[in-house]
Symmetry: C2
Subunit: 475 residues, 2 copies
């Protein structure tokens, strides 16, 4: 393990790996491209699960579980889908000591297996909408992997819904994007640009893909979540029909939507600093740690009693841990909790205590002396402030690094040297999209919902454009 965290300025990629390692979030598995999610990392994933489960259930969704193995023939049923996923598949050819008659694919996504069940379950409009979500592991073979962002196996949730009408399905697609947006913004304090993917960037098999695009500290884009509208494409392939309110037989309209553990990568790269992980209070499994300033071979009972009282006051509203280990010095502990991103540290020392105070140290370095009898309210207030401050900082970064450009040469130079997002006019042709990608490695992250709609000329070919889209290099 590296002794120190590489500064961001020196090597952003290495900094990212170092933060993960020192915060004990994840570790490399002995299987190429696979990740071990260590307890500190899994605790973050549990925050994602708890928050999203609450939102999913409030909006009428239910969890279920479908098999991880998909018959190879299923994947081949939808043309775009198989083209998109076949090259990424892990294939089970042997089971129980024998060669299988038909190979099984380890799910790269579950549209096919889930839709094969939906065709059995749905008969009437009374069975609709069908709103099902699954928490699962999936597998996509990757040559170049990177913790959380690109791993062969990853954890995610995938929602798959069926609706009576196109309108219902389109509303669901956007509703789920909105649920992701509020989670990512309000809990993870990550500002994002919601928008629509171009034809070339959309999900294999979808009619439309919507996404949330975030900006990391190195100014690269990261797709935080996606929501797809399928129309009746899979319904026709898997024969998912229902008798409608007028006794007519129709195909259902469908959506799917997902967020994966890559959102943990976004969390890390949005807030952390050269001292290690930084967690927004609402994302933190442990929000406050109390470090009593203990002295070896002395009577620490006053400090420990006061620390216990401080804990009582804080735990009414926050998750808190009192670290009363004697074998480690306060300095050792301060460092450990900086590395692991605990938002707030409370120091309870004999000197402050004598004056009726303790010290609150926010993970961003802000320190304040607080009267002991106000510590509960003060912690609540400061955690709320910290949550806001982290969002503001990230939001300012996004704004300040989003550029409006009209000259190709300038754009090309800036995207290479400065990075960031570029609002560019584009003629909507695949040719120009590809050319810009080949030339600059920047791709269209999305056509933002809040698009700058104005007449202009495509930055590549000069043809007419009705509005700007966002180009950026991305993870």
């Amino acid at each position: 393990m590296a002794d120190r965290i590489t500064p961001r300025e020196e090597d952003f990629s290495q900094w990212y790996l170092d933060v993960i390692q020192h915060a004990k979030l994840a570790d490399q598995a002995p299987v190429r491209g696979c990740l071990v999610l260590r307890p500190n990392g899994y605790a973050l994933w549990e925050v994602v699960q708890a928050e999203l489960n609450r939102k999913f259930k409030e909006t009428g969704h239910q969890n279920a579980y479908f098999p991880m193995f998909i018959p190879e023939s299923f994947l081949n049923l939808e043309k775009d889908h198989v083209e998109g996923f076949a090259p990424q598949c892990a294939v089970v050819t042997h089971g129980g000591g024998k060669k299988l008659e038909e190979a099984l694919i380890v799910r790269p996504t579950s549209e096919t297996i889930i839709n094969s069940m939906y065709s059995k379950w749905i008969k009437s409009y009374r069975d609709l909408p069908l709103l099902i979500n699954q928490w699962a592991n999936v597998c996509r073979w990757e040559m170049r992997t990177r913790p959380f962002l690109r791993t062969m196996e990853f954890l995610w949730q995938e929602g798959h819904t069926c609706h009576e009408t196109e309108d219902d399905a389109r509303k669901e697609t956007l509703r789920m994007l909105d649920i992701y947006l509020s989670f990512v913004r309000d809990v993870f304090a990550i500002p994002v640009i919601p928008g629509k993917k171009t034809e070339s960037e959309k999900f294999a098999g979808a009619e439309e893909t919507y996404c949330l695009e975030a900006m990391m500290q190195d100014k690269k884009a990261l797709q935080a979540a996606t929501s797809h509208y399928f129309g009746q494409r899979f319904a026709k392939v898997f024969d998912i029909k229902f008798q409608d309110r007028n006794s007519q037989v129709q195909y259902v309209y469908q959506t799917s939507w997902g967020i994966s553990w890559r959102i943990l990568g976004a969390l890390i790269m949005t807030h952390s600093d050269d001292q290690g992980l930084v967690l927004p209070p609402k994302a933190a499994p442990i929000q406050v740690v109390i470090v009593p300033i203990l002295q070896k071979n002395k009577d620490n009972s006053t400090v420990l009693e006061a620390s216990e009282k401080v804990k009582q006051a804080i735990q009414k509203n926050h998750s808190v841990h009192l670290d009363d280990r004697l074998e480690h010095s306060p300095g050792y502990k301060f460092n450990e909790y900086e590395l692991t991103g605990i938002p707030m540290r409370v120091e309870v020392g004999p000197r402050d205590l004598a004056n009726g105070f303790c010290v609150l140290a926010r993970r961003d370095g802000t320190k304040t002396q607080v009267p002991l009898d106000q510590v509960g309210e003060e912690v609540t207030k400061q955690l709320a402030d910290f949550q806001k401050a982290l969002y503001s900082k990230a939001s300012d970064r996004l704004t300040q690094n989003t550029h409006i450009e009209n000259e190709y040469a300038t754009f090309k130079e800036k995207v290479e040297t400065l990075g960031g997002f570029y609002q560019l006019h584009w003629c909507e042709s695949r040719k120009c999209e590809d050319k810009i990608k080949d030339d600059t490695k920047a791709t269209i992250r999305c056509v933002p919902f809040a698009q700058i709609r104005e007449a202009g000329k495509c930055i590549s070919c000069g043809s007419e454009s009705k509005g700007r889209v966002i180009f950026a290099k991305n993870y």
Copy 2:
């Protein structure tokens, strides 16, 4: 779908399948031996997860996640382990369009992959105990499958811990068995016999396996959970060493323990009846359903308002659903909630309402009229009674069908015709164990902790025995 549920007396196996189908707990997947856990079934699994996560975390365990793929060579490192699991493995031979240099096994259990990580993470006694749990899917190739009880892929949790001393590890093994016992008994209302497995029945690679054995309504045994003590066997294979308190390098002592979705099969076969699923209140995702007796084309506002008030009173302490659908008759709803096992139905009808009453109908058929202003307390009381009643009934069944036998011929006839558990003297030889199994299909379920310790003669060979062990046919 079968129109009715086959009575238990007629065909217990078919009854089991019918209950699952009518309660919409699970469905057969298009992949042989795989199960789809439908929302009603997954909601039960979420109860298992929530309850066990609470107990695991209270006792200092943390969740993590390890890869589903295990290099084939890892499995081969521990001799007993590979012999036990190799014949059951699904093998990935191709990935990303290429043949792999080393095949990957889809985890049948995770000892090997997890221990390979532990050897990196553990250096000192300060890193111990290491108490990690994983919720995951695993795959064991099965030729004859049965929903929940025997499926190719299944969901489970597996805990894997490391300790400084043998004593610590042994205590952990039993502590976790005790956690399972209290969960199975207090939440699922399933009485079990805790005990130890014989050499031939223990987990492949374990030094000792402990288990909980339950009795289903057909008098067959079902293993509800297991906890294993490994000693230093895997530690030596995977080189998991630590510096102890005296600066000596030692191997850790280990345990693992697990419960799978087969516990849902046990839940179904313990309590359900010929009308469908029966859920103990503490196991039920929805404990109470309110059915207002509505009339089409009439003003139902009084009944609906009263139903809403009843809901308010109940939801303080229980999960409750008010089913105010007009398109289905009360009778249709009564039937639906019987099939799906809701413990308590509250009927709110105009006639009772006029007298200030509503009707509580417990899933076992007990009906009572209750004054509206007492409905909250009364529901709480009756649910608690119902929970107890279900446990008592199952416990009586277990007691009444556990027989002490000394004559082989009598045992052989009874186990064939009556089923049940048999307390038999056994000489501790593998030969007699195998002979009895070949002869009667009954196996040693466990050496119970509350063993009848007395001198006797092995029921098979007549050699000396110091105590009785439990034989039964099992799932």
